[in-house]
Structure formats: C-alpha cells, structure tokens
C-alpha cells in the first residue's frame, strides 16, 4: 500500500515545478502530447504521482525522460498547472536521485551552494596558475592532463554508477526479467538516440529546435574529441586546427541562440529557466567562445602575454567538468538516451 506524501510537491518546487496541486485530472496534457502513446501515457500520471508524493512510482518510471518538452501541455492546460515544467523538474529530481553522491540534489536545490562550488573551483584554478607562475607551456600541458583525467574519473566514479542506479530503479526493481540477449538486441536504440535525439522530432513544433540541438551535441562531442585526443591546442596539423575552430564556433553560435530564447521567452519551452539551465547554456557558450579565442591567441602568438584568457578558459573548463557534467544538466545527455534503451528493453521483455 502506497503512502501519500503531500509535502512532496514542496520538495519538487525547489527543483522548479509550479503548482501541480492545481491539476484536476482532466488528461488534456496527455491527450495533446504527440509523444504520449498507449505504452507510455504522460504527463498526467506523473502529475498525479507528484501530487500524491508517490516517490517510488516516479523513480521507477522512465516517462520524464521520454518527454522532450514542446510545452503544448502547459499552454493548453485548463488549470495552468504547467505539466511541462513539472516533467522538467522531475527530470532534475530524478537526476538528483540517481546520483549516489548527493551533490546533484544539493546543487539543484541551492543556488548558493552552486555559486560557492563555482567560486571555489575558480579559486583553485587561479591558485594553481600562481603556483605555475603562469608559464604558458606548463599550464597548457597540465590543462590537457586535467581534461583526460577528469573525463576518466567523472565517467567511472560518478556517471557509470549513476547509470547503474538508474537501471536498477527503472528496470530491475520494477521486476523486468529481460535476458542478456535483449540488452544486446536493443543496444542500437541507445546509440541512435544518443547521437541523433530523433525522438524529439516527434514534438510538433520542433524541427528547428531539434536541428540546433543536434548541431550542438555533435559539435560538443567532436570538440571534446579534438581537444582531448587530437590535442587541439598543441597540434601542428592545419586540418585539426581548422576543425577545432569550426566546432567551437558551432557551439557558441548555437548556445547564443539558446540563451537569446531563454531571455526572450518566446516559446513555452524557454519560458521557465532554472539556475541549472542558465549554467548549462552559458557555460557551454563560454567553453566554445574561450577555446576558440585561446586557439586564436596561440595562432596569433599572443597567448603568452595574455595568460588571463587561458586561465579563464581553464576555470570554465574545470567548473564544467567537475560540476555541470557530473551533477548538473549535462547528465540528461546520458539519461535520455539510456531511458530510450531501457524502455525498449522493458517493452521487448514483456
């Protein structure tokens, strides 16, 4: 027998939800949603679970990840209960629940904690710069080491265990008995959704938003590859240098548009921005812009006189890699695609 928990909506409000208690269960949101189908009818059920505070039902569900937030449910909601934003806050809440360290929840709920974290890391980078006496070659060298090390550590210590926890909550615990064969058979789903986000095309309004997002994802992943494995900042290959310029430019152009939309609030999806959303898009913008400029300064041979720029780039990179990637909005990249994978496994097994 499930116990209801009326305080749960107060908890969710800290993650950005509005007033799910206004819901009178008409189901309009589910009916207008183009992604909702007979196997996964959302978001009303999630609103209901949230109002009743049925945390284990929400944790067992993949529905929040199957929503790509076109905002139709919110703009047509007869009660202005804002189901679209509720799904968004559930994704944040789930991110916090999957995270074994508990940092996610802390950063989502407390802006002060987030800012403190960002400032501390900035301070560490500046102190590190001092200890190196701002020598360009040393800093570039360690900067590159940091990238490789951070990726390995964050992936193995934070992200992998969190994905396992997500799998346990959504697949194992609800009693799916899928065999290993099913996991292999469905693996393609994971790859496809990770690199194309094609499900987002099912949202009515969404062709441009999907395209921009796709460009951003591919630009980001390839820039990551270019800087980490092709060592963009130290390479002598013209092709790699040009590739890096192109990728970083893509990132700051697209994120500039994302930031513009969040400021103008011209679509339902960009109307409500949680601090974590701002950090995510602005830091991505900085990453693209600063790495573009650093490489430009190297090519113009003026980086040595302007080490402040590299320090700035390193600060943003460290904050990104140690806060936003493991605990912030970056994780939706993994959870969304794994959700599609797990969903397929659950359906194939039943």
């Amino acid at each position: 027998m499930a116990r209801i928990n009326p305080e749960f909506t107060d908890e969710l409000k800290k993650y950005g939800a509005f007033d799910p208690n206004a819901c009178y269960n008409c189901g309009n949101c589910t009916a207008v949603c183009t992604l909702s189908d007979e196997d996964n009818s959302f978001p009303r059920k999630m609103v209901r679970y949230s109002v009743l505070g049925l945390e284990s039902e929400i944790q067992a569900s993949l529905d929040p990840w199957l929503c790509y937030y076109c905002g139709e449910c919110s703009s047509t909601c007869p009660r202005e209960a804002n189901p679209g934003e509720l799904m968004m806050s559930l994704r944040r809440w789930l991110t916090a629940k999957y995270d074994w360290t508990g940092f996610s929840g802390l950063l989502y709920k407390s802006l002060i904690a987030s800012i403190t974290g960002f400032l501390l890391l900035a301070l560490v980078v500046i102190l590190f710069g001092f200890s190196m006496e701002f020598r360009m070659n040393d800093l570039l060298h360690y900067g590159h080491y940091f990238e490789v090390g951070a990726i390995a550590l964050v992936a193995s210590i934070i992200l992998l265990p969190n994905i396992v926890r997500m799998w346990y909550q959504t697949v194992k615990k609800p009693g799916s008995n899928a065999g290993l064969k099913t996991y292999f058979k469905c693996f393609g789903e994971l790859v496809v959704h990770m690199f194309t986000q094609k499900r987002a095309l099912g949202c009515d309004d969404n062709q441009l938003r999907w395209f921009e997002h796709l460009v951003l994802v591919l630009g980001y992943l390839s820039l990551l590859f270019t800087t980490v494995f092709l060592d963009w900042f130290s390479t002598g290959s013209d092709f790699i240098i040009f590739l890096g310029y192109f990728e970083s430019a893509l990132i700051f152009v697209v994120t500039f548009d994302f930031v513009r939309r969040r400021i103008q609030k011209d679509q339902e999806v960009s109307k409500h921005s949680h601090p974590s959303d701002w950090f995510f898009v602005i830091w991505l913008f900085f990453m693209g812009l600063f790495s573009f400029m650093v490489r430009l300064f190297i090519d113009l041979n003026i980086l040595e006189q302007n080490m402040w720029l590299y320090i700035l780039q390193l600060i943003v990179l460290v904050q990104w890699a140690l806060l936003i990637v493991p605990f912030g909005k970056w994780t939706h990249f993994l959870y969304r695609s794994f959700a599609m994978y797990f969903q397929k496994i659950k359906l194939s097994a039943s």
Partner: protein
Amino acid sequence: MKETKKILEYDALVVGGGIAGGESALNLANLGYKVLLVEKDLTIGGKMIMLSKVFPTLDCAACITTPKVSEIARHQNITIFTGAEVKRINKLGEHRFEVDVLQKPRYVNVADCTGCQMCEEVCPVSVSDEYQYGMVGRKAAYIPFSIASPRAAAIDIENCTLCGACERACPTKCIDFTQTEEEFLVKAKSVVVATGFNLFDPLKIPRYGYGSQKNIITSMQMERQLAPTRPFNTILRPGDGKMPDNIAYVLCTGSRDKSVGNPICSQVCCMYSIKQAQLLMGALPMADITIYYLHIRAFGKGFNEFYAQAQDMGVEFIKGKVGKITEKENGNLILRYEDIEAGVVKEAEHDMVVLSVGILPNQGISDVFENEKLELDPFNFVQQSDMLASPAKTSIEGVFVAGTASGPMDIPDSILSGGAASAETTSYLRRETV
C-alpha cells in the same frame, strides 16, 4: 434629431427580454407597475425559446416559453421594444433614472404585418440564418422563426439589395424602407438588468477544429436540430447530410479552462448534454452516444436521477478531456483523449462531434451606466452585492439583476432569479410612495 427625442415614463425598465427579464417584467406588470421591456434582438424569448426540451423533466421548452411570451406581449402594463438598445443610463437620484433608448429600424410596420411570409418567398437574397445558428439559410426579408414574438417580418438591410420585390409582394403594404433610427428618452424609477449570456465561441480552441471540420457542431446547433422549429426535421451532420450514428459530446468546451480565460463551471453543459443524449436516442434509435466529461455535475433537483437514466439508456460516459480532434477523409472525426480510469491515452472515431460550449458574460451593459458604476464580479458577470440576503441587488441602488446576467445558471434558477429581481424592484418602488 435631439429635438424629436420622445420622452416616455415608466416605473421599471427591464433590459433584456429573455426568460429572466420576461419573468421580472410580467411580475411587475401584474402588480400594476408600468414596464418598458427593451430587447436588442428582433424577438423576445431569449435563448430559451430556441431550445428543444428542458432538463430534467424533458418538458418542451417552447411550450413553456411561448405562453409566457405571448402573455408578456399582450400585457397592458408592458411596452416592448424589440430591435432596440439601451445606450445610456443615468441615475439622477433615487427613483429617477434617465435612459437613452435607440430603436433601430425594422423597415416593417409590425402592427400591420400578418406574418404571411410572402416577402420571404420573393426575396432573392439568401444568407446564413443566425436563428438556426448558421446551419441553414434565410432570406434578407424574413421572419426570425415561426414562434418569434412579434411574429413579424424584418428587413436585413445589411444584405438587402433594395430590389423592392418584398414591398410589391406585401399584401398589407407594411414594408417601409423610409424608417430611420428613433431615439427615446425614458424616465424610469427602477432598472432590471437581464442581459443574459453569450455562448463560448469554439473557434478559440483551434485544436478542436470547429469551423474547419464540418461535422463538429456546437451544442446550441444540436439544440436547434432537436427543437420543434428545427431546420432539417431530422438529425443530420452538416458536412455531407449523413444521419450520424456515433455521436460524441465534448464537455467543458470553454468552461473551467483558464487557458481560454474562463475558469468557472457553466453549470448547464453536463445536464443539457445528458438531455440531448437522451433525445438523440429517441431521434436516432440506432445511434451510439458517448459523452467525454471531466466530472458530471448533476446537483439540482432530479438531476442525478436524470444522469442515471441516461446511463441506463445506454449513453456511454468516458472520463477524460478531449485533447484534439482530427478529421478523416470520410468526414469522421478522431478524438484523442486520456481515459482517466485506465490512465492510457486513446483515440476514438465518431461520425459527428458536439462541443458542449459554456456560458460567458454579456458584459457590455456595465458600460452604459454613466454616473454610477455597475460593478462586475471577477468573471465579468454583474456583481451581486448582497448575494445571500438580497440576491438581485447590484452596486447601484434601484438597479437589480436577473438571470444569467449575474452568473451561469439553468432555466429554473433564471426564472427564480427573475422573480427575486421583480420582488426586490417592487420593494424599492414601494419605498418611494411610503
């Protein structure tokens, strides 16, 4: 024009000739007060005279309205202006209201018109018939409908080509194109506001596709199809004239919906839809009727039994708000909704859809009050300043409200409200003589 303004004196001015205003006027007139009833439409009787039957008794609406309407029309203490508008109400003091009334030309001398319809026959102009809610046409020279009061012709001058055919055909020579607007200055001792309501316009919900998808009609259009003065003599879907056999009702269309600016319940849609479903089972015995609802509000006397009766007759009730309606090539409609009891999104096909549209305020009346403000409530209905102790009282002493002008309500409540308004008006008028 100012110098030709005629001055009239009455004890009470009743604005609106629907069932609530009519009831008020009749009660006041029976007590001996002189009443002026001003109606902006060409006929009195309001929305009720257009209806098929009333819930939950299934009495014929016209058979209740028409005797009342003719009693009002023939009452020696009541003067009726149809096709007239109240332009300005000025309160000079207690029991002293000064009112500007504009009588628009009908281009027919009502006293001479016999209602023979010969003008209709010869008129070459066909336009959409607003009294049948656009489902059929009428002429530019026309009698609004067969039980209109007065049952007299009118010329729709907007669409008239001035060909003169009606003038030549009229046996009593009652058509007069020289009529012009006439202004009256009315001195009244009290005012009853009975301006009724507007129906929600479903074009405001584009995802339902009303207007572009021909087999979606409003509940008022269905009401006309079921009424004794109906346009087709049977039930037809407008797209292709097929007799429907699988009809869906979409409740709360424009009611309880903040996204269209009307957060409140219209109070009548559940019951009139249940009523129409029962009538349809008589009119189309083989048809399936499905009602998509949020919550059935059957709160009045005999209402819940009426709801149960519909269930027993086989009307299907599905809990879930319809999210969108799409049209198939054959004109059938796909309704997408979440079956709330199953928690699953579903699609259902119907060959005709009725949108149970809600009640909206008719708020223009508050603008005509000049020196005192007629307060409206948060939903733009006339504010009842003392709802429990004196339900017809408004923010202006001597101005009373009747019927749906004060909020959504059904017919029995409107008549009760009209009665209350006349009683409170009487007590106000009596205070002058004491």
